[in-house]
């Protein structure tokens, strides 16, 4: 246990949670075949570099796969054309100048695999093959950007529909400030039931039509807060969620023992949890940090012998 007798009281407000997360999720969710260009312009190894130059110029592309009898045997780019021009080698065959060790990606792989390959090798394009090894398309970083934007637009429309449903209940009930209050009692040391409150809150927000990504942040934050009540309090506590049209405020309150040193408690990895809690996969001192990462605002106040009040605000 913490023995520092200093009265703990601290308030902190974190910035908005990382907005990049949605895009990162998309990079994993989207498959390469969803963003690649299917119609591939190809050349044969017997074509001359001069012919290749015209193919690149007319199609406004900077490189192309080389096929022999439908088999991918190499890749050639505008850089190779420039080198051939410098050396007066422009009538050489593509087959002599192409790169034969071709890095490819699979059509059914997630876009992240291609992002990683582009980052690692610095290529301008990657041929896409199916699991039988046949050329299925071609992928540039521009294709990825366009695919992500297209998907973001689709998600945005779905979000609009969600938002409409969420706001409906608040539109029907008119007051100067409408709020829906959900209270959940949390029992101390009852680890088997830990998470029931967060689970019910999650379900309620889904029914209200909140956005899935926001519901996830609220669920994670309230689950961590509930876990703290179960692990650390003497008599348990309460998880109170106030849902407003624009935001949700979650308050976790208990009647002790209180946190002796709030600043220390907020440090990643700092924990006073007993061994049996650690064996269950919790109590590693990451809970408050997780909550902070999920929340738009977080306030923590505590007094030894009185109790703790954690307030989280998440914008809907």
């Amino acid at each position: 246990m913490v023995t520092n007798s200093r009265e703990g009281k601290a308030t902190l407000t974190s910035g908005p949670a990382l907005e990049v997360t949605k895009l990162q999720e998309l990079v994993y969710e989207l498959k390469i075949e969803q963003v690649m260009t299917q119609k591939v312009i190809t050349v044969s190894p017997e074509d001359s570099m001069r012919q290749l130059k015209e193919v690149l110029r007319l199609n406004r592309i900077s490189g192309t796969p080389v096929l022999r009898d439908g088999e991918l045997i190499g890749i050639i780019s505008i850089e190779d054309v420039i080198k051939a021009l410098e050396r007066g080698d422009i009538d050489a065959n593509v087959g002599q100048k192409m790169t034969t060790e071709v890095q490819t990606v699979f059509a059914d792989e997630s876009v992240i695999q291609a992002v990683n390959k582009f980052a690692r090798f610095g290529f301008g394009r990657l041929p896409v093959v199916n699991r039988q090894g046949k050329l299925a398309g071609i992928l540039t970083q521009g294709d990825i950007a366009r695919g992500l934007l297209r998907q973001l637009e689709i998600d945005y429309h779905e979000e609009e529909i969600h938002r409409y449903r969420a706001s409906h209940i608040f539109e029907d009930i008119v007051s100067d400030q409408t709020g829906l209050i959900l209270r959940y009692k949390v029992r101390a040391q009852d680890f088997v039931r830990c998470g029931e409150a967060a689970s019910k809150l999650k379900r309620a927000l889904e029914r209200l039509g909140a956005k899935p990504a926001t519901v996830r942040r609220i669920a994670v934050a309230s689950y961590e807060a509930e876990t703290n009540l179960v692990i650390h309090t003497i008599k348990g506590g309460e998880l109170i969620a106030e849902v407003q049209p624009e935001k949700i405020r979650i308050v976790a309150v208990d009647s002790g023992p209180g946190i002796a040193n709030v600043e220390k408690a907020l440090q990643p990895g700092y924990s006073t949890a007993p061994e049996w809690i650690r064996e269950l996969g919790f109590g590693a001192g990451m809970g408050l940090n997780n909550i902070k990462a999920c929340a738009d605002e977080m306030h923590l106040e505590s007094k030894v012998g009185v109790g703790t009040r954690l307030e989280i605000v998440i914008n809907l």
Binding site: T21, Q24, E109, G195, A198, F282, N290
Partner: protein, 135 residues
């Protein structure tokens, strides 16, 4: 990768057989620390863990985990299975260690759920250990 494909790659067994194994997972994570799962996973993740208590299912529910694989041939207690059934989360078992289970899936092309560039950005330049200094 579908759950059915996951099963074949890890040569695993279904614990809950009424679930839909055509569901897709797009990334995976191996962890015994549930706070890490809550902090670092995305919706659509497959979780590999050596823990079998019901809190694993709770964590999966909150974090949007698609399915859970219990490694090292461990089987979860009935209360974990019951909760997973209630929440509609498929449970799988692997006889391999955490390392090999993850390794097999990674090799089969299932990527990690780590925040790919944030992890790299926060990697410290000067690790405290002297063994990282170049000779």
């Amino acid at each position: 990768m579908t759950l059915a494909e996951v099963l074949s790659v890890i040569e695993g067994k279904k614990i809950s057989c009424d679930k839909d194994f055509s569901q897709e997972v797009s990334m995976a994570c191996g962890a015994d620390l549930m706070s890490d799962v809550l902090a670092f996973t995305h919706a659509g993740t497959l979780l590999m863990t050596g823990l079998t208590n019901p809190q694993v299912v709770r964590t999966a529910e909150m974090a949007g985990i698609v399915a859970i694989v219990f490694v090292r041939g461990k089987l979860p207690p009935p209360e974990t299975i019951a909760l997973a059934k209630e929440k509609g989360i498929p449970l799988l078992a692997s006889k391999y260690t955490m390392y090999e289970t993850c390794g097999r899936l990674y090799q089969a092309g299932l990527p990690s759920c780590g925040l790919f560039h944030l992890t790299a950005d926060t990697w410290p330049d000067n690790l405290p250990s002297s063994c990282n200094q170049q000779a």
